[in-house]
């Protein structure tokens, strides 16, 4: 099966939201953790294996005010970095 462009969180990773709307992603298997900002939290919550990365970028554009032009690239880098570190995978194609 081929990978799609639909990111999906590693189900074992915990999202731990904090008082300032930032959050910690914690992988208890590897003991790795990463701090993410409020946009990162929103991206994380939108990743469900059904939305493509482009759809997520578009929804972020609607959800936040004054989204800079560089947002798309930053979100792509953010998701790629999470994928490289095992926090995120890409949904596999399913046979019809």
């Amino acid at each position: 099966m081929n990978q799609t462009d639909r990111p999906i969180p590693n189900p074992i990773v915990m999202l731990r939201e904090e008082f300032d709307d930032w959050a910690v992603l914690y992988n208890p298997d590897t003991a790795d953790a990463v701090g993410i900002n409020p946009v990162g939290v929103a991206v994380w919550k939108m990743m469900n294996g059904k939305r493509s990365l482009e759809q997520i970028v578009a929804e972020i554009g609607k959800s936040f005010v004054e989204v800079p032009d560089a947002a798309r690239d930053e979100i792509v880098i953010f998701v790629s970095t999470l994928a490289e570190n095992g926090f995120v995978g890409l949904e596999l194609e399913r046979k019809a």
């Binding site: 731990r16 904090e18 959050a23 910690v24 790795d32 990463v34 930053e74």
Partner: protein, 373 residues
């Protein structure tokens, strides 16, 4: 086990004199009271030069001049000349009493400099209750003014305790009006006089300290031109502050070494209190040998952060934090790996942030990603 790559010795902390012209209730160094600096041992100039000369090949780029009060060193101006001559970044921690306009101008001759002035109240009565000497408040305020007038915008350091906690907001206003660059809120460390202050219940309890940190980071920082910092362990600092600013709360021991007034190398100023943490004599013991071979420094390089104990062993921030203050932890428990008192008390009170705790005790690692905006 941690990396054993030899880190650079970035900064020497010079505790220049065993005397101080104030008698602060919370001091962790406990210098002798000495209004003029004539009656206390101070580091000889030649040892100051020797330590710098031997440290430069190890990576030295800055020196911190502290004390006791560094400005009562009988040859303070000569020390400033040496720092300039060697092209080093100059860091000074002072109570401000001797920062005259002339000294402020001389400090400003160092192109790369950072000065902090301690002020522990927004009025004279409060500051002088903490500092022990009448007139200290106006002198400290004038020190800030003299520094600003000569081109150095200092940091003001305010150590929070029960007596002055109600003045935090007023301090922000006062320090902003004085023209300082930043304001740092320190927590009283239970070392030496600070330990007595805690026993006398003159310090804030852990819940109040955590609430104060939130107030500073969430309420006050966005409303002032000053940079505000609260110096408590990293696990309590807001992630957006960690990602965007350098605010302290971590132990810098991997790149620093203390030189105390007796002429000994030490972990830091704790060497004045704890003989175990002194490492040899300037001029007698080659600094390269001390830095590379001292058993305690080697143990720290090999064991941090994995060997940290208690709550620190489970904390996701342990790698950058390193127990927050190894000197304080050792003073309290006699172990390099002891957990930090602040985090331990917070855990006991159920106030340690659950989001910052791992579920394993040995290999947690933490990064921040502030770019997805």
């Amino acid at each position: 086990m941690g990396s054993t790559i030899m880190p650079a010795l970035n900064t020497l902390y010079f505790y220049l004199t065993e005397g101080c012209n104030l008698a602060c209730r919370h001091c962790w160094i406990v210098p002798h009271f000495d209004a003029t600096g004539q009656h206390s041992p101070s580091l000889p100039v030649e040892l100051f030069e020797t330590a710098i000369r031997e440290a430069k090949p190890l990576g030295l780029s800055s020196v911190k001049l502290t004390g006791g009060e560094p400005l009562i060193h009988p040859h303070f101006r000569r020390l400033l000349e040496i720092v300039r001559r060697e092209g080093l970044r100059l860091i000074i921690e002072t109570n401000g009493l001797l920062v005259t306009p002339e000294i402020a101008v001389e400090i400003a001759e160092s192109p790369n400099r950072f000065v902090s002035v301690s002020i522990d109240g927004s009025d004279a009565a409060t500051h002088e209750w903490v500092r022990g000497i009448p007139g200290a408040f106006e002198a400290a305020r004038h020190a800030v003014i003299n520094l600003v007038d000569s081109g150095t915008r200092p940091q003001v350091i305010f150590t929070v305790m029960r007596r002055n906690a109600g003045q935090v907001d007023a301090m922000v206003q006062m320090v902003e009006e004085l023209g300082a660059n930043s304001l740092k809120f320190n927590v009283v460390q239970p070392t030496a006089r600070g330990e007595n202050l805690q026993k006398d219940q003159e310090t804030l309890d852990i819940a109040d300290l955590i609430a104060l940190g939130r107030h500073v980071e969430q309420d006050l920082a966005p409303k002032t031109k000053l940079k505000l910092f609260i110096h408590y362990p990293l696990a309590f600092r807001a992630l957006h502050r960690i990602a965007n600013e350098n605010g302290g709360g971590t132990c810098g021991i991997s790149g620093i070494l203390g030189v105390i007034a007796s002429g000994h190398y030490a972990l830091c100023g704790i060497g004045e209190q704890v003989a175990d943490l002194t490492f040899g004599e300037v001029g007698k013991d080659p600094l390269a040998e001390v830095w590379q071979e001292n058993a305690i420094l080697k143990a720290l390089r090999e064991g941090m952060p994995e060997r940290l104990e208690g709550i620190c062993s489970r904390c996701l921030m342990k790698e950058p934090c390193m127990g927050s203050c190894i000197a304080q932890n050792y003073y309290r428990k006699g172990s390099l790996w002891a957990p930090n008192w602040f985090c331990e008390q917070a855990e006991k009170a159920g106030l340690f942030p659950a989001s910052r705790q791992g579920t394993t005790s040995s290999q947690d690692s933490f990064t921040t990603n502030g770019n997805a905006n």
